[in-house]
């Protein structure tokens, strides 16, 4: 009984001590929780800051200044008589545009002034006309009103007007300003949606530059990467986790894989150059090689996360299947793999995101290049989005600044689409049981 009494007293003492510390513990709890929220907020804030920064810089690239001109497809100026495959490439569409400009501003006469006038219009604008004429050969000899793309200097000036009072003049002269003013007043100069940005490959003229080639290149490259790294990574993870005996060798492989994750990506480029290009003689600048290199680079990530998700499958499931007389392979294929798949997908997505944003290793294998033509296969020369961004970020022309950001927006859009797909896929797979 005394023992019991002592315990009762003890309990009271204990209660007192607990009460004494309660406040500080709850305080800590709140603090901890607050820290958690702050961390999340920090992460989300970082995303938002980056996004607003990029969007504010890049959104203007989605419109493009255009000039309305009365053009006459005069055979004499064009230098062709008929519209066909043969003659079109030689036709002088620039001449047509120049004639139209001279007509619009008849007061310009001196050679110097004319040059200044011509430079209002993008020097790729002739291609718009060529495309029109190709679609509609009847236009030859006729006159029509078309919108042609303005030069990047004009475009940059116009866009900067909305930001500052005077606008960024750059290399635009007083005289050109006058013409621009007159065109704007008469509604012959407007900003239109920039389709070129999505339909063209790279160009040295900012107003003609687009991301199509890089986007397609990225898709091809990622396709190769995904098609190789996911199966190989999952297979490697399965072997290591389910079949390999646990010994020094597996330790070695494990360390090896972790270590590969730390190898700077450019070293993978060196490897790719030595093996795929110099030894196997695969073509330079091709998505095939890029994909191979990125596969080697993302494999560790995928293997590590796949192993983690294989580990998290409860052993009771394996036992159950094994007890049913399923072979090891069947246990893995029928039970373990489906359960581990959502986790593996997460890893694959992280790996793919990494591959999608990578530039350095591609430098060594020739994908950091100026490529205009949209690739049609995995062996055509092509570049990828981050490289395009990198190259544009390094270009002197002011108009590339907004295009750089716009390309980043596209890259992020691809990324977000990928993530959404992964989340959706994960949900779908998980809901099955």
């Amino acid at each position: 009984m005394t023992d019991s009494n002592q315990i009762q007293m003890d309990q009271r003492e204990v209660r007192r001590r607990i009460e004494a510390r309660l406040a500080s513990r709850h305080c800590k709890e709140k603090l901890f929780r607050g820290l958690g929220i702050a961390s999340i907020a920090f992460g989300v804030l970082a995303v938002l800051v980056l996004f607003t920064d990029i969007i504010s810089k890049g959104s203007s690239a989605f419109v493009q200044t255009q000039i309305q001109l009365q053009v006459t497809y005069d055979p004499a100026v064009l230098g062709i008589d008929t519209v066909d495959e043969e003659s079109l490439p030689w036709a002088n569409f620039d001449g047509v545009i120049r004639a139209a400009l001279r007509e619009r501003f008849p007061e310009v006469t001196s050679r110097r002034d004319k040059r200044a006038l011509y430079s209002l219009v993008s020097n790729g604008a002739g291609f718009n006309l060529r495309a029109r004429l190709e679609d509609n050969p009847d236009l030859l000899g006729k006159t029509e009103t078309v919108w042609v793309t303005a030069d990047d200097d004009v475009d940059t000036y116009l866009k900067s007007l909305s930001k500052t009072e005077d606008g960024f003049l750059g290399r635009t002269s007083e005289q050109q300003l006058g013409w621009i003013q007159s065109l704007r007043d008469s509604g012959e100069m407007e900003k239109h949606f920039n389709t070129t940005f999505f339909t063209n490959g790279d160009s040295r003229e900012p107003e003609q530059a687009g991301i199509r080639a890089a986007l397609v290149g990225s898709l091809y490259t990622l396709l190769v990467t995904l098609a190789l790294s996911f199966p190989i990574g999952v297979a490697a993870a399965i072997y290591l986790e389910e079949f390999a005996p646990k010994n020094r060798w597996t330790d070695l492989i494990e360390v090896n894989i972790n270590n590969l994750a730390a190898v700077p990506s450019i070293v993978f480029g060196l490897l790719g150059l030595a093996i795929f290009i110099n030894f196997f003689e695969l073509p330079r600048s091709a998505p095939l090689v890029g994909g191979l290199v990125l596969t080697l680079m993302t494999l560790p990530t995928i293997i590590i996360s796949s192993r983690a998700s294989l580990k998290s499958v409860p052993p009771s499931i394996r036992e159950a299947a094994m007890g049913m007389g399923a072979s090891r392979m069947q246990v893995v294929l029928h039970h373990v793999l489906p359960l581990a798949m959502p986790g593996m997908l997460t890893g694959a997505i992280i790996g793919m995101a990494q591959a999608l944003g990578e530039t350095a290793p591609l430098l060594m294998i020739g994908m950091v290049a100026f490529i205009v033509d949209v690739p049609h296969g995995i062996t055509d020369p092509s570049t990828v989005l981050p490289v395009q961004i990198f190259l544009w970020a390094d270009s002197p022309e002011r108009a590339f600044v907004e295009r750089t950001s716009a390309a980043i927006m596209v890259l992020l859009a691809v990324l977000i689409t990928m993530n959404t797909c992964a989340v959706w896929l994960r949900k779908k797979l998980e809901r099955r049981w």
């Binding site: 073509p283 290049a369 100026f370 490529i371 205009v372 033509d373 020369p381 390094d394 002197p396 002011r398």
Partner: protein, 327 residues
Amino acid sequence: ARDHISIVGSSTVYPFTTVVAERFSRATQYKTPVVESTGTGGGMKLFCQGVGENTADITGASRRIKQSELDMCNGNGVDVVEVLIGYDGIVLANARGEAPFELSRKDIFLALAKDVPNPDGSETLVPNPYKTWKDVNPALPAHDIEVLGPPPTSGTRDAFAELAMEGGCKKFDWIAAKKKEDKNAYKAICHNIREDGAYVEAGENDNLIVNKLVASPKALGIFGFSFLDQNADKVQGSLIEGEAPTFESIADQAYPVSRPLYIYVKKAHVNVVPGIKQFLAEFTNARAWGDEGYLADKGMIPLPTAKRQQVATDVRKLNALSNLAAK
């Protein structure tokens, strides 16, 4: 077999080769050449590997080919045709809103060299003691010396060392005299850039340097002329020897810090890879590299007319370069 021209090489020449490549493919039926930006040395390495369809046809260089590179090329059976295409000005600039600098090459040398002649006038070298521009030259502002420039691995840096630093260094007679005795020592004095933080290696992205200048208005930056041209609202070029870096002053060589740009063509490929001749023809056409050509629009400083003609005829003959001294 490859049906497009493959071009590698300098990042400085890259903007110019690409624009030619684009126009060339528009004007002809050839595929657009693929232009890689690998740096001058990297380009040379790829270019000189040998001949055959998996090697590059053309390489760009922001300096002349070195004898060692030429030897390597020749050793691998590569005959190279040299084409001087124009000049690039290297500018020192600071942010607009601050007073523009007026520098001499001597100022530049004294401000940036690792070791400078002893300020007391004796013919010895001391580690660079100057902290502010005013220390270098009383006419300059009292800002700390802070110059953002390319790293040692960049061709621009080499050119800057050779043209600006050496130019200033030569002004000290006793150093200039060393050139004859011990060329290496002379170069070491003239080319070595200080490493105590006054010179900031800022990477090879010139746009980044421009924007960093805006962020730190007291600093100077070193970059190519085309970036000054395009960012005239943000930065202003410093006057060197009284000359502002303008298109004209660089073209007539009044502005002292400009370097030649080259492309090198693999002679053996000319009849193998479709379009090389036509590409060269486009490059050496007046509408491209002429005074009012589109390359000038992009910021390349054209050659003088006479020089242009001479290069154009040489190119047509496709004379291979065998020895640097021969030129």
